[in-house]
């Protein structure tokens, strides 16, 4: 065989050489098409059901467009559908993406899929809530400043405290989302400064509307002297608002929400909800994209970036700064 090939090469005429060259170029071109694909960034939000993450979507698409990159966008329908988020992540790892931006639905369970990404040398940006593992070379944490969220919430609640008998409910603490624990701790610590005798009622988070509302109703019924409710996610804010609405306590018990969604911001506009402490997911995803780009060039390494939240009230909701944070690409129909 070797002799045949050697003799074939030695005996190549000009036209024969041209034929072989065209064949090789065609093969190289066909193989090269794959190589020439635009880098793809997969953005996997905690859920696709909220405008909170659509703001991140719009920013990621805008930045990718300026770089000539592509984005993939999909996530679970609920924040507690952890298996679905892991499935999406595994699927994207198999696609050979250039980077992954993940808002994890679980602080521990997502560590293994992230490790799998690192084994494939795919940089990963963790958004909003941290994992229990620390950032590494190929992992960046771009987190909401949950302590700041707690401080702002406490400051808003402080306006509604009267005398020495104050009860404040904190809804939505969930160990899967470490940020909620930090925010709740900060709220308690800060409010102790404003009113040392204050009592706190804490309730974990459920993401089904029926059960969340039922829990909120039970809480309101059991604690008629509540001054304020702080909710740490969209599901709890909706549930608390509906429970207050049914109990005809809207405006009587202050409701301060964390995380934005359009129907909730609308209640801020009408004055039914005191305020919402919005997460700046646009800035988070911008920092994450920037880091992945630089990481691909080898100029940065793992770190933690903290992005401050913004308070949205009836007074500032129309300000350009707030509208920029809330802008979305379209949302879901």
């Amino acid at each position: 065989m070797h002799d045949i090939l050697v003799s074939a090469m030695m005996g190549l005429s000009r036209s024969g050489f041209l034929n072989v060259a065209i064949m090789l170029l065609t093969c190289w071109g066909l193989l090269g098409c794959r190589r020439a694909e635009r880098p793809l960034i997969a953005i996997i939000p905690a859920t696709t059901a909220q405008e909170l993450w659509e703001s991140a979507h719009v920013e990621a698409s805008r930045i990718a467009g300026t770089w000539g990159w592509d984005t993939f966008w999909n996530g679970p329908s609920r924040e507690d559908d952890l298996l679905r988020q892991i499935q999406i992540m595994e699927k994207e790892l198999d696609q050979g993406v250039a980077g992954i931006i993940l808002a994890p639905d679980h602080a521990v369970a997502l560590i293994s899929p992230v490790r799998a990404a690192l084994e494939k040398k795919i940089p990963v940006a963790i958004l909003d809530n941290p994992l229990t593992a620390s950032p590494k070379e190929d992992v960046v944490f771009v987190l909401n400043d949950n302590a700041a969220t707690g401080r702002i919430a406490a400051e808003r609640v402080s306006h509604y405290l009267k005398g020495t008998q104050n009860e404040v409910a904190i809804l939505g603490v969930h160990p899967n989302f470490l940020g909620t624990i930090v925010a709740a701790d900060t709220i308690r610590d800060e409010l102790q400064k404003y009113a040392p005798g204050i009592r706190f009622i804490e309730q974990g988070s459920t993401f089904g509307s029926t059960e969340a509302e039922e829990s909120a109703e039970e809480l309101i019924e059991a604690h008629p002297t509540l001054r304020a409710i702080v909710t740490l996610n969209v599901s709890q804010t909706r549930a608390a608002y509906n429970a207050l609405s049914r109990a005809k306590l809207v405006g009587k018990v202050a409701l301060i929400g964390c995380e934005q969604d359009f129907d909730i911001i609308y209640r801020v506009r009408t004055g039914e909800i005191d305020s919402v402490i919005a997460k700046d997911t646009r800035t988070m995803v911008r920092d994450a994209m920037q880091w992945i780009h630089q990481r691909r060039e080898g100029t940065v390494t793992g770190e933690t970036i903290i992005v401050p939240p913004k308070l949205v009230t009836k007074q500032n909701v129309n300000s350009p700064e707030i509208q920029w944070i809330l802008a979305v690409n379209g949302g879901t129909n």
């Binding site: 074939a8 696709t48 405008e51 298996l83 459920t206 029926t210 059960e211 609308y266 509208q323």
Partner: protein, 707 residues
């Protein structure tokens, strides 16, 4: 290479033809779910009506060809709830589980706003301004929906089939998707679809809608919160549902997890809330504390994912409870909670009775049907269990292979009524999506092992048999060659030696008998004998030369031998040429021997009878044959078959021995041409390169000048 190209071309043609055929045939199965693929939802097909019994956001059921381009899609649609929307998808690609997880177009009816909507999703939704449908969009009312896609324009029309009120709108995109499948889709509500039809669309059809719709619109994302707030404030004024629910809502008395602990002797009446996890064969609901079965409740039909409030009598079971004499109200819609992931042992413990779970197991035997259900018998970790899936939802599960590892999602049920005490628990599946094959059966099943063993033995026997056959062929070939050489020697050297023997014997007899024989005569006889010995020696030399060759040579040597022989026989008075045309190929010993003999005879005849001035020897190689041509410019003769002598007949016989033929062209005064055409074996790789012009070798031509 040719065969490969042919194969590739055949496959390409088949794929192209198949794609084209699918694109051009606008056929949808209405009686079976097999050609439909679901992405979320709980889909069923009964009497030509497709139903999604789930409030999941963005449930999809897809069918058709990815090659469908300009089509008209229509169906009657119906919503189960006063919220959410239902509709049709067109030119859709890349679908996945998720709210907007597809790349395509969608048009449908939105209940809360009472509008006809249309837009484009590319994993993010953008829509044109909705158009109000006069009279609104109501639950459990049939509407006819038609989508006309032509070029980059989508026309959508809706008609209330009760009031015949209509609405139309037109969508346009500069850069649109060129083709894709069709689908049924619902969001935050269950729905029904019937009379689904697909046909090629025409520009005239689209223009008819365009005339009614007015200006065409680009899908635009609702990009700011402020814009949404204006929109939201509009439809909040017309939303009655939530408030209706609110007014009647009562505080539940118990959680579902507490029901199993109630007294069994006097069934108490309770008010509970939960989310529907299953609707068939019974309604199952759950909250975070547990689950319960609801028997024949009074109230509206429900879908998976709906939040319900139930008032009824509790009948505690071993691990969960059953609610009877109950009334049911829907209080919310939404995506059902994700399942709890448990092991079969945990499921068998009863802790997850009436709960929506996810579980893994190996399929023990083929999926079969019993009492209207497809039955999956599974085992894992020593626990055997079953999963049931309604037959009328489709036959997709029949494709599962035994010993596959599957992941199931469904409602876990314990209790004798369902398990007959044969298995610890069973799983009620809700859709074919609830079964995910994690790993196919291992290849080393006993059947596979037996098959592979048989294959190995068969191959070994075949190889051995082939080897024996080859050895036999080899022996036969050697025997034939020996026989042929023996014949050759007998025909040539043996005859010559016999002649020499007779001649010497005659001379000896003459000398002994002392007859009158002169010294000159003796010298003459001896000279003649010496000539015979020389010719015999020459024949022996050529035979030895050919038999001694290490490998089959090319014909160039053969033609060279002819030239030498002609030169010697003619004393150098004849000009001789040789030429090879085409791709020079090696010739077997047998062929060379035959050609040599024919050539020798031809040269001898030409010199003896034709007296030529020139003889040309040419060997022309074709792809599968070759021709040896010997042409002289001698006197020629009348070449008629009737006058052929033994010499020519012998030449023909030899030509036939190698599967060839001999042709003689001659006439008095024009010389003679002898052609021997014989078959050649297939080309090897180098020769194929040469044939296709990738390698060039110059043809060899030589001339021996007159001495």
């Amino acid at each position: 290479m040719g065969a490969t190209l042919l194969l590739v071309a055949s496959i390409s043609f088949a794929v192209f033809t198949h794609t084209r055929a699918r694109r051009e045939s606008y056929y949808l199965q209405h009686d079976r779910m097999d050609s439909w693929t679901s992405y979320g939802g709980v889909w069923a097909l009964e009497n030509g009506v497709f139903t999604n019994n789930s409030d999941e956001r963005g449930a999809k059921l897809m069918s058709g060809s990815m090659g469908w381009r300009n089509i008209a899609l229509s169906a009657d649609v119906r919503l189960d709830q006063s919220g959410g929307d239902v509709g049709l998808m067109i030119r859709s690609n890349n679908e996945d589980l998720g709210v907007d997880a597809y790349n395509g177009y969608y048009a449908g009816l939105r209940a809360l706003e009472g509008t006809l909507i249309a837009g484009r999703s590319n994993y993010s939704w953008s829509e044109v301004s909705p158009v109000a449908l006069p009279g609104g969009v109501h639950e459990r009312v049939w509407y006819h929906l038609q989508l006309i896609m032509y070029g980059c324009r989508l026309g959508a029309s809706a008609e209330n089939l009760s009031t015949h009120q209509t609405a139309v709108l037109l969508l346009y995109e500069d850069k649109c998707l060129s083709s894709g499948r069709i689908g049924l889709r619902s969001l935050s509500t269950g729905g029904q679809w019937r009379n689904i039809s697909v046909a090629p669309s025409t520009e005239t059809q689209l223009d008819a809608i365009a005339t009614r719709a007015g200006s065409e619109r680009n899908p635009q994302p609702l990009s700011t919160e402020a814009a949404y707030a204006r929109h939201f404030s509009h439809y909040e004024r017309i939303e009655p549902v939530a408030h209706e629910w609110d007014a009647q809502l009562r505080t539940p008395s118990m959680h579902l997890g507490d029901l199993a602990g109630l007294r069994r002797d006097a069934p108490p009446r309770v008010l509970v809330r939960g989310v529907v996890t299953l609707t068939e064969p019974d309604i199952f609901i759950e909250d975070s504390t547990g689950g319960a079965m609801v028997k024949h409740p009074q109230g509206p039909p429900v879908n998976v994912g709906e939040g319900v409030e139930i008032s009824g009598e509790v009948h505690p079971l071993l691990y969960s409870a059953q609610l009877t004499q109950s009334s049911l109200r829907i209080i919310s819609t939404g995506t059902p909670a994700p399942p709890l992931s448990v092991t079969p042992w945990q499921a068998a413990s009863g802790a997850y009775d009436a709960r929506f779970i996810e579980i893994q197991g190996h399929l023990m035997r083929e999926v079969h049907s019993e009492n209207g259900y497809q039955v999956l018998d599974l085992t894992e970790g020593g626990e055997a269990f079953r999963a049931l899936y309604p037959d009328r939802y489709g036959q997709a599960l029949h494709n599962l292979r035994v010993n596959s590892l599957v992941r199931l999602r469904g409602v876990c049920v314990l209790g004798k009524v369902y398990t007959q005490d044969l298995i610890p628990f069973l799983i009620f599946l809700r859709s074919s999506d609830d079964v995910q094959v994690l790993r196919g059966p291992p290849w080393w099943t006993p059947w596979h092992l037996a098959f592979v063993s048989f294959l190995i033995v068969f191959l070994a026997c075949s190889i051995q048999l082939s080897y024996f056959q080859f050895r036999q062929w080899q022996k036969d070939a050697i025997s034939r060659e020996r026989e042929r050489i023996a014949h050759d020697i007998h025909d040539t050297m043996a005859q010559s030696f016999a002649g020499i023997g007779y001649q010497i014997q005659g001379l000896r007899t003459s000398i002994i008998r002392n007859t009158h024989i002169s010294r000159e005569e003796i010298a003459h006889e001896l000279a003649s004998t010496s000539d015979l010995v020389s010719r015999c020696h020459a024949d022996a030399s050529h035979t030895i030369e050919m038999l001694g060759a290490a490998s089959p040579g090319e014909a160039g040597d053969l033609l060279g031998m002819f030239m030498e022989r002609t030169y010697k026989l003619s004393g150098g008075n004849i000009r001789v040429y040789k030429e090879e045309q085409g791709i020079v190929r090696p010739l077997s010993l047998h062929i060379r021997a035959v050609l040599f003999n024919i050539g020798q005879e031809t040269i001898s005849n030409a010199i003896t009878h034709g007296l030529p001035a020139t003889i040309a020897f040419t060997m022309r190689y074709e792809k599968r044959s070759a021709t040896m041509m010997i042409v002289d410019d001698g006197q020629g003769f009348d070449a008629t078959p009737e006058e052929e002598g033994f010499g020519i007949l012998g030449m023909r016989r030899r030509a036939r021995d190698i599967g060839g033929s001999l042709e003689i062209l001659s006439a008095p005064g024009v010389g003679t041409r002898v052609d021997v055409t014989f078959p050649l074996p297939r080309l090897d790789l180098t020769q194929r390169f040469m044939l296709h012009g990738l390698i060039h070798r110059r043809p060899r031509a030589s001339i021996i000048p007159e001495s």
